[in-house]
């Protein structure tokens, strides 16, 4: 069974960069990864350097718009599965799935129910499922992904950022999804705030598994809109990610 990791956090904290670097780490080994972009506000594909066309949102709309034109006895689960395989972007070492746009005004109970069963089956083909999730954890509340082994909250070094992590922990408690572990990664850490972050995390009872320093290489690539997937091994962020991956057992 695949290990399921969800990376979440407020916008701007660098969670998508960290997700990409975790995928980078995994594909350097021999792990087969399913990467899921579940945050419409960010762009995991671009950060990975991969182009995608269609999203789960698109195929849900297709199912909604076309259902009365389909052969009446077509197996909709099988049809949806085929469509999903069609939009899976196949890259060396990992496949990428983009959740895409939010649902329209129609009723999606049925199609989401089919999707749950297809995703459960699909996930068994991978060693690791890693989800770049928006902070509201919407796809979890809809139970598209049933259980999460590790929920990783990325924050900046501010007290407010760590408070967000605390709130996400509370939110998880309200979901039906089982989450085994909640970890925190502090990003864009400097020598000036390093100790303080560790102290605050401790005070809030958050398990801090890594502090990633400001990485000039990432800053430059972000500015140029270039992918982070092929960062060199000597990038400081890459080195810290290696340690984090070890702690996550990856």
């Amino acid at each position: 069974m695949a290990k399921i990791i969800a990376v979440t956090g407020k916008g701007g904290t660098g969670k998508t960069a960290i997700t990409s670097l975790l995928i980078r780490h995994l594909t350097k080994g021999d792990k087969i990864v399913l990467a899921v972009d579940a945050d419409p506000d960010t762009n995991l594909p671009e950060t990975l350097g991969c182009e995608t066309n269609k999203t789960i949102g698109d195929i849900k709309e297709f199912m909604h718009d076309e259902r009365d034109n389909l052969p009446p006895d077509v197996s909709k689960e099988s049809l949806l599965e085929g469509k999903l395989y069609e939009i899976l972007e196949e890259m060396p070492g990992y496949d990428l799935l983009v959740m895409g746009r939010p649902e329209g005004s129609g009723c999606y109970c049925y199609v989401n129910n089919l999707l749950r069963s297809i995703m459960n089956k699909l996930v068994t083909n991978y060693d690791v499922l890693i989800i770049d999730a928006e902070a509201g954890l919407e796809h979890f509340s809809r139970k598209i992904f049933r259980n999460v082994d590790d929920l990783v909250v990325v924050t900046d070094g501010s007290r407010r950022g760590l408070r967000t992590a605390e709130r996400i922990r509370e939110l998880v408690g309200e979901l039906d999804t089982d989450v085994s572990n909640i970890y925190v990664i502090a990003n864009k850490v400097t020598d000036a705030n390093r100790e303080r972050i560790a102290g605050t995390a401790d005070e809030l009872g958050l398990e801090l598994i890594g502090m990633i320093p400001v990485d000039e290489m990432i800053v430059e690539r972000d500015l140029a809109g270039e992918p982070l997937f092929d960062l060199p091994d000597d990038s400081v962020a890459v080195q810290e990610i290696e340690k984090i991956a070890q702690k996550l057992g990856l």
């Binding site: 087969i32 199912m63 909604h64 259902r67 009365d68 052969p71 009446p72 006895d73 077509v74 197996s75 909709k76 689960e77 099988s78 049809l79 599965e81 085929g82 395989y85 069609e86 196949e90 060396p92 070492g93 496949d95 005004s105 129609g106 009723c107 109970c109 049925y110 199609v111 129910n113 089956k121 699909l122 068994t124 083909n125």
Partner: protein, 469 residues
């Protein structure tokens, strides 16, 4: 049994995905062409176990290549008939996925297969072994098949030539399937997917009645219930027919009691004004009774304006939704308009007096021809007066229902009297009362009162009727 094949065969491989990294060849699929087709044939026309390949074999294909693939199976047997073709054809998907290193997706002319590098390395070098395995499974699992032969085609010209024949067969089959009606089956299907929003909802899906959300038809219910009978879609035995016209069955009434926790015990599947179907949390269209014209209007979720009764979809949906059985309002799925039994116990299309234009356009082709120009939209009728005028002008069949009233009170236009259930008040709160309240209004023929409202505009937040102490 699988010893004769250079691969494992087991249901455990069903969910196996062959990724691009591990793929040897891709067959048919979105970037090529192909199809699967099962045809029933005479015993003499089928040579049992025979395999024919037209075009290159797996051993001729290079790693990473893509080819078209058509798979035709001819089956014969004393019990084999054309109606079984699609059932057998569907199993090709299942059985090919049982083969380790072979992936089959979709169906018909959308099929998409992949063969893994591992499978080739282990000796799957010919389609013959694949086809023989499938033929063996067909005969083992479907004993009515006495003889089967397979023809696989990987030559593009040949696939293109044959694909049109296959499409004609699919089309003819679909037409037969669409011709399935409530009276042809003994099982309906229920669904509880939206039970959390609509706890007393009793969703009954029949060949002539799509689910209210529009997403689930009878075949979907059947497929899901077969896989997981305890799942969100499950069988409802039809039971005995109480009344075919309104669609009342003992099995449905029993299910109603069970699913609504005793709240409702009667549901008439094709009725609007008497024991209608409950309305769930997310129906696509809501119907509303318009007492002034004794007709029924419909408004869909996408229509943002107000219906002639002055209400918007959201208001009516709020009154009706949540799994209630509300006389005077009814949630439906768009496809129910295309049902030959569409509210047939209340007059069907002849009772329909208003629809938003977008909705009307959507179902226009399924409307009886002679009614099409007689049903106004927001463009012709925005309120009750213009609605009445339009209906009169076009001589809408609803006029026949007016005669009685006009004879009774020829000088005044009056709201239908509150003496019969089907002409009850339109005030939404009244309508929320359970339907067994309605007969009380008749006064049991003991004289009672006659209420005539003239030019009345009544707005009632709440009506409380209490027995006097």
């Amino acid at each position: 049994m699988a010893d004769e094949f250079p691969f494992e065969i087991s249901p455990m491989f069903e969910g196996e995905r062959i990724r691009k990294d591990g793929m040897y060849a891709e067959l048919a699929g979105p970037k090529s062409k192909g199809f699967e087709l099962v045809r029933a044939a005479d015993m003499d026309d089928v040579e049992d176990g025979r395999f024919t390949l037209i075009g290159p074999d797996l051993s001729d294909m290079e790693e990473g290549s893509r080819y078209p693939l058509a798979m035709v199976y001819k089956i014969a047997g004393e019990l084999v008939e054309a109606d079984l073709e699609s059932i057998v054809e569907r199993r090709n998907h299942e059985f090919q996925n049982y083969i380790q290193g072979f992936m089959h997706l979709n169906q018909r002319d959308d099929v998409w297969m992949r063969v893994s590098k591992d499978a080739i390395a282990k000796g799957m070098t010919s389609f013959e072994s694949v086809a023989k395995a499938i033929m063996m499974l067909f005969k083992n699992e479907l004993p009515f098949i006495e003889k089967v032969e397979a023809i696989y085609i990987t030559d593009m010209d040949e696939v293109e030539k044959e694909i049109e024949n296959a499409r004609a067969v699919y089309k003819a089959r679909d037409e037969r399937t669409r011709d399935l009606h409530d009276e042809d089956v003994d099982t309906f299907y229920g669904c509880t997917l939206c039970a959390s929003f609509a706890p007393t909802n009793v969703c009954v899906v029949t060949p002539d009645r799509v689910s209210l959300c529009g997403a689930i038809n009878w075949f979907d219910g059947r497929a899901a219930a077969k896989v997981d009978p305890e799942g969100p879609q499950f069988a409802i035995p039809k039971g005995d027919v109480i009344d075919a016209e309104s669609g009342e069955y003992t099995g449905v009434n029993e299910a109603a009691k069970r699913l609504s926790s005793g709240e409702y015990d009667r549901i008439k599947l094709h009725s609007f004004l008497e024991y209608p179907h409950t309305s769930c949390g997310c129906f696509e269209v809501v119907g509303f009774y318009i007492p002034e014209v004794d007709g029924i209007g419909w408004v869909d979720r996408d229509f943002a304006g107000t219906a002639p009764n002055g209400l918007q979809f959201s208001t009516m949906a709020g009154q009706t939704g949540g799994g209630k059985q509300v006389v005077g309002f009814l949630g439906i799925g768009v496809n129910y308009f295309r049902s030959p039994k569409f509210i047939q116990s209340d007059g069907g299309w002849e009772r329909v007096v208003w629809m938003p234009k977008m909705l009307k356009d959507k179902v226009f082709d399924s409307m009886p021809e002679d009614i099409r120009d007689k049903i106004p939209t927001e463009e012709e009728a925005a309120d009750i007066d213009s609605l009445r005028t339009f209906l009169k002008e076009k001589n809408h069949p609803i006029l026949e229902r007016w005669v009685e009233e006009e004879e009774e009170a020829p000088e005044e236009e009056e709201a239908p009297q509150a003496t019969a259930p089907q002409t009850g008040f339109a005030a939404p709160q009244m309508m929320q009362m359970p339907s067994n309240f309605m007969p009380m209004m008749g006064g049991g023929g003991s004289g009672g009162v006659k209420i005539i409202l003239k030019n009345a505009k009544v707005s009632i937040d709440k009506v409380i009727i209490k027995k006097q102490d």
